[in-house]
């Protein structure tokens, strides 16, 4: 089974509404580490993820996967999970059905996934009545069942309480241990510190720094990264005379 990694982004830009939201992004993602894409809100993290996952196309530059059928080997978990109007088990079953997995196998996989995510007792409940935390766990179960090689997560715990956040982070860790490449976005420094093996710091659509996690949090090179790690709110924009103006993006 050929791998779809490494993923190469080559001078990728994305423009919408006359504005460039992702600018000249170049990077390469190999197999292995848990990558956290860090940045303030509006930095372009979600856009970047969607570009990589193929939900939107770049206006310039190239995105290259390896191997055949890269789409089938990726998954994505969104900040707000979208549950199908059916039972919990049926939601997990859905992706497997799409890929033509035979019924008996599907039942086994669904059961396994529900067990791992602690949702087995909710298997027949309508997915929409679950709490946010449970829904996000279901979203993970749903995508885990497909055994993706790469998993993109877009601020998956932004709306969750600490207990649910912890549960989700454990699941992400479990998936990583079983071989899934994790690429996750967050604006939460604490979460980034807990999860990241490497950090890509984005600001206003540009990749400003990429480094192994320990080094990044201890001594980031980029000044904006430094400000961010210090906990500052990156609200400003540098005017012509290098003064901080409060004009938003």
């Amino acid at each position: 089974m050929t791998s779809i990694l490494p993923l190469e982004l080559d001078d990728v830009s994305f423009e919408a509404g006359g504005k460039r939201l992702i600018k000249d992004f170049t990077c390469r993602l190999d197999a292995g580490p848990r990558t956290v894409i860090l940045g303030a809100n509006g930095a372009g993290k979600s856009l970047l993820l969607r570009l990589c996952h193929g939900l939107i196309r770049p206006t310039a530059g190239h995105i290259r996967w390896q191997g055949v059928d890269p789409g089938a080997k990726q998954g994505m978990v969104f900040q707000r999970p979208v549950m199908l109007r059916r039972s919990v088990a049926a939601n997990v079953d859905y992706g497997l059905r799409l890929r033509g997995v035979p019924r008996r196998e599907r039942a086994a996989i669904v059961d396994d996934m529900l067990g791992r995510t602690g949702l087995r007792r909710l298997a027949d409940r309508p997915a929409r009545v679950l709490s946010f935390g449970e829904q996000q766990k279901l979203a993970l179960a749903r995508v885990w069942a497909l055994k993706p090689e790469v998993l993109f997560l877009d601020e998956p715990t932004a709306s969750l309480d600490p207990a649910a956040t912890h549960a989700v982070e454990e699941l992400i860790d479990a998936m990583h241990r079983e071989g899934t490449r994790i690429v996750m976005t967050t604006h939460d420094l604490g979460q980034a510190k807990r999860i990241a093996n490497e950090v890509m710091f984005i600001h206003r659509g540009r990749l400003l720094e990429r480094a192994p996690a320990v080094r990044f949090f201890e001594c980031p090179e980029n000044d904006l990264a430094q400000a961010f790690v210090r906990g500052e709110l990156l609200w400003w924009r540098l005017g012509k005379d290098r003064q901080k103006i409060s004009k938003p993006n």
Partner: protein
């Protein structure tokens, strides 16, 4: 309002007496309307879903046309179908005029735009909600159609009921293409028209009461089914 109390009395008398003529008329009405709605759903839902999910040249014009067709006057549709099915017309060889089949055809033409337009709206809204997630799981718009139709089933049921309401309530089209022939093409609405023209207003109203009860029954059944299914499946 003696007419109204006479009407209720007439209605109860008919039902209590298990009037066989009434039973025949009610059965035919249900066959025609339900049959028309079934066919209209088979045609209208895929068309509506396609319009919601795919962009193609002329889509905007089709959209406007579809919404406009919802207001087709039944009597005009009846006239056009009559001219088509008449022996002197293009489809005359089939000898379908003055049969329940002709009535179903006319009602299919009336009901399909409603179901298509409402389905389009439902599917479009659902796709906005689901698109990213479904694409991520590997389902583009084409593969997603059955899932969208299933997930939107409650709203789509409402559109089917709207279609049924239109079909069971109309009289203009079925009168022209059916001919209101006793025991053959007489349905509730044409029977009401006939009794009205005979001046038997109490009986006409009584039949009207029964017709409305039928419509209530169908809608109540649909509502209860929806409630039960919602509790079970969400």
């Amino acid at each position: 309002m003696t007419d109204l109390s006479d009407a209720f009395r007439a209605a109860f008398a008919l039902i209590a007496g298990l009037d066989p003529a009434l039973a025949e008329i009610v059965l035919l009405s249900l066959q025609v309307s339900l049959g028309a709605v079934a066919v209209a759903t088979l045609i209208g839902m895929p068309v509506g879903a396609a319009m919601a999910l795919f962009r193609f040249p002329g889509r905007a014009a089709l959209l406007v046309l579809l919404n406009a067709l919802m207001g087709l006057p039944p009597v005009v549709v009846g006239l056009i179908v009559y001219l088509a099915l008449s022996r002197a017309g293009p489809l005359g060889v089939f000898g379908l005029l003055f049969t329940p089949t002709a009535m179903i055809i006319a009602q299919v033409i009336l009901v399909t735009p409603i179901i298509a337009a409402l389905t389009r709206q439902v599917i479009e809204d659902l796709w906005v909600e689901y698109e990213e997630q479904l694409r991520s799981l590997g389902a583009g718009p084409a593969r997603a159609v059955p899932s969208l139709l299933w997930d939107g089933r409650f709203a789509l049921l409402t559109s089917v009921l709207a279609g049924f309401g239109r079909a069971s309530a109309e009289v203009g089209a079925v009168m022209i293409v059916g001919g209101n022939i006793d025991h053959v093409t007489r349905v509730m609405t044409t029977a009401i028209a006939l009794e009205t023209s005979k001046g038997d207003l109490a009986l006409a109203l009584g039949l009207g009461v029964i017709l409305m009860t039928l419509a209530l029954g169908v809608n109540a059944a649909a509502y209860l089914t929806k409630e039960w299914a919602q509790r079970r499946y969400g």
